[in-house]
């Protein structure tokens, strides 16, 4: 599993999406490419704390929906998206601009190892041992875009790899989702430009999953129950203990879970459906 092997373009195990490229490259690969649809989460290396939080969250919810998180294992947004995915033991693909056995930047070694440990894959078009040269990075962005069903841009400057990934993705018909940002914040300039050019603004984690769901199909792990047996006007927690015949701690625990699923909400001491 840890030894790189090559997948030739056009063979059965070759990622189908890459065939949308004009020049589908042969791939070097460590680990497993899942059949699950991939979602690229990309962004600038010079990101804000806000961007990091958001990218982690997106990584988590995408993985939680049963999809693969594809990114470039770079500093900043890329790493955060991978981390989020790994925090829920999700499937991730890291696309490198160096040989598959060269982890760059070195600080992302835990993520590199984590991806492989949780059954993901590291891929690159460069032969093993290829050093990380700057000029190689833009080229790997086309692989990130092509391997994914959709591209999500969290933070991007006016110039940079994330913007390239988004544009390449759009060229080969990948829907682009973009987090809008402050108009005067450099790390959001590229994002806002993309939105002006017609990309889909993302209004939150749930909005993203909803939007992706329309393209990819509903998330694999949909909320387990869709309704609760509660009167529309709600019940107090105390009434619920009788209603469900549970102990108070059990009732509270159940309310907490339903709240996370978005099936109930608390209004003071009343539990209200929806």
């Amino acid at each position: 599993m840890t030894t790189p092997h090559m997948v030739r373009a056009g063979t059965a195990s070759y990622p189908e999406g890459l065939l949308d490229l004009e020049d589908p490259p042969d791939l070097y690969l460590i680990g497993d490419l899942a059949a699950a649809p991939g979602v690229a989460v990309v962004g600038t290396r010079r990101c804000t704390r806000y961007g990091i939080d958001l990218a982690e969250r997106f990584g988590r919810v995408i993985a939680g929906a049963g999809w693969t998180v594809v990114s470039g294992l770079a500093r900043g947004i890329d790493a955060a998206a991978h981390r989020g995915c790994l925090s829920v033991s999700g499937h991730a693909v890291g696309v490198l601009g160096s040989g598959v056995d060269v982890c760059y930047p070195a600080e992302n070694r835990p993520i590199y190892d984590g991806i492989l440990e949780s059954g993901g894959a590291i891929v690159s078009e460069y032969s093993p041992g290829t050093p990380p040269d700057r000029w190689r990075f833009p080229a790997r962005n086309r692989i990130i875009a092509a391997m994914s069903t959709a591209v999500v841009v969290v933070e991007a400057a006016r110039t940079g790899g994330a913007l390239i990934t988004a544009r390449l993705g759009a060229e080969i018909g990948r829907p682009v989702f973009v987090v809008p940002g402050d108009v005067d914040r450099p790390a959001s300039e590229g994002c806002n430009l993309l939105i002006r050019d017609g990309a889909n603004p993302v209004l939150g984690a749930n909005d993203l999953i909803e939007g992706l769901g329309l393209i990819i199909g509903p998330p694999q792990q949909a909320a387990s129950a869709s309704t609760v047996d509660l009167p529309q006007s709600g019940l107090t927690v105390d009434e619920l203990t009788t209603h469900w015949s549970l102990s108070l701690p059990e009732t509270l625990a159940r309310v907490g879970r339903l709240e996370i699923e978005g099936l109930v909400r608390m209004s003071g001491d009343r539990v209200i459906p929806g």
Binding site: L248, P249, G256, E259, G262, G268
Partner: protein, 476 residues
């Protein structure tokens, strides 16, 4: 001709020995007092002179210099009267110098000894230095309640002088062991309904979580808060000593007691009353009086915002430093905050039956007063709704039963690994993603979930514990 008498000063939540040095010099009447005395101490001159005269002793017709050492220690109050008077007698060779006896007491002009707030401080120092102490009769039982104190009770200056002249006899005040008296007047069984609020109270008692009750008037918010005190495990010996000394420093006589202090300052209390201050010798405020116990802020939203903000630092550090010119004193302030508030000025926003009379702007202004940094430190936020009459039956658990559960959990807590299941961690992240809790709320949820697990005697925090913790931190 010199003498030295041992006495005691209260500094912060602790006691320090003070040497009362007296020098009687050449024949020329004068009386000087040095060593950072406050006004009350300086007035000791006149009381000592009168009391000595009334007791049949002669005030020496010579220069008398009294020094309270260490000079840098701020000294206040009237408790140095007696040691000064005995020191004058000793320096005049009337009695032996009481170097190895701790003496406190205020003198009346007729020579009687009055009670002193330092009675307990003398007891603490006596136990610590293993020296006998002479205290006014009315403070003797307090001093004797300190474990290990050797206490002699006296009524008059003449009696004290006689005791020292003859040597201390065996007639020590019997050490008073304080029975574990727990407040039985406020029992949880009195609270009708409100299982969720009761549960929060139990969790707060176990994990010492700060707690906020909100809801319309008449739900029992204040009742519940008062009953939380009765669920807490009793003070340890060292805690009881510290609490007693802080009370003494504020001029309150509490002595040694095992129940935790319960302080409920009114919302019109000044900032100095809340966090401590005062001119001259610093006096502890409510946050320090509630040290190791409960600070109950009723009508939290009525407290001025600036006052609430001053609570942050003592809450965070567990101590308040009061700086005065030339000195700064630190009082411990690790209190457990319980607060109650109406949801709006009239109290009925969000009520099922009664309409709210307030304009929306008033409601939001009212709510904003309880927000920000203080609210961030409150782990449990529970609505206490009005009780329907059907619930007005009394099959509720008594404080004794809950107290036992809390004690078992607190014991379990002190000696268990801190584990959280992977599923529980994932649930927290899910809650974060779906916006049920904020990033700040993650730590809070973990803390409360940990306590819930302790009450269930579970080493590992489970998903259920986390889910329950989230509900008990409702929106304010």
């Amino acid at each position: 001709m010199n003498s030295a008498t041992m006495s005691v000063a209260l500094v912060g939540g602790d006691v320090k020995p003070v040497q009362v040095e007296v020098h009687v010099g050449r024949p020329q009447e004068s009386f000087k007092l040095t060593g950072l005395p406050d006004t009350a101490v300086r007035e000791a001159k006149d009381r000592v002179r009168a009391a000595l005269a009334s007791s049949g002793a002669k005030f020496p017709n010579r220069t008398v210099t009294v020094n309270l050492s260490p000079a840098a220690l701020p000294k206040g109050g009237t408790e140095y009267d007696l040691p000064i008077a005995l020191g004058v007698l000793a320096a005049s060779r009337e009695i032996p110098s009481p170097r190895d006896v701790i003496v406190v007491g205020e003198l009346a002009l007729d020579g009687r000894v009055r009670s002193s707030t330092s009675g307990m401080a003398a007891g603490v120092l006596s136990a610590r230095l293993d020296l006998p102490c002479l205290v006014p009769e009315s403070s003797a039982s307090q001093a004797a309640s300190v474990p290990g104190a050797r206490v002699y009770s006296i009524k008059t200056l003449a009696e004290a002088a006689e005791q020292l002249r003859m040597g201390l006899d065996d007639e020590m005040v019997k050490p008073r062991s304080v029975p574990p008296s727990l407040d039985t007047t406020a029992d949880l069984a009195d609270v009708r309904g409100q299982p969720m609020a009761r549960r929060a109270t139990e969790i707060a008692a176990t994990g010492r979580h700060h707690l906020l009750f909100h809801g319309p008037p008449g739900g029992g918010k204040t009742m519940l808060a008062r009953r939380l005190a009765g669920l807490l495990p009793p003070l340890s010996e060292s805690e009881a000593v510290e609490v007693g000394l802080i009370h003494a420093a504020a001029g309150l006589t509490r002595g040694i007691r095992w129940d935790r202090p319960f302080r409920s300052p009114h919302h019109t209390a000044s900032r100095a009353a809340l966090v401590g201050g005062g001119s001259g010798v610093p006096v502890p405020g409510e946050v320090s009086l509630a040290n190791h116990g409960l600070l109950f802020l009723d009508e939290l939203a009525e407290f001025p915002r600036s006052h609430l903000d001053t609570l942050r630092q003592p809450m965070e550090d567990g101590a308040v430093t009061i700086a005065r010119r030339g000195m700064s004193v630190e009082f411990p302030s690790s209190f457990h905050l319980v607060a109650a508030t109406n949801p709006c000025p009239c109290g009925f926003t969000g009520d099922d039956r009664k309409p709210c009379q307030c304009r929306p702007a008033m409601v939001s202004r009212y709510r904003q007063r309880v927000s920000g940094p203080l609210l961030d430190r409150i782990d449990l936020v529970v609505k206490v709704g009005r009780v329907e009459s059907v619930e007005m039956r009394s099959d509720a658990e008594t404080s004794a039963i809950v107290r036992k559960r809390v004690a078992v959990a607190v014991d379990f807590r002190s000696n268990r690994p801190d584990l959280i299941s992977e599923a529980a961690s994932r649930l927290i992240l899910r809650a974060l993603d779906s916006g049920v809790i904020t990033a700040r709320g993650v730590e809070r949820t973990k803390r409360v979930a940990r306590t819930i697990a302790d009450l269930a005697l579970a080493e590992e925090v489970s998903e259920d514990h986390v889910a329950e913790a989230m509900v008990l931190r409702g929106d304010w």
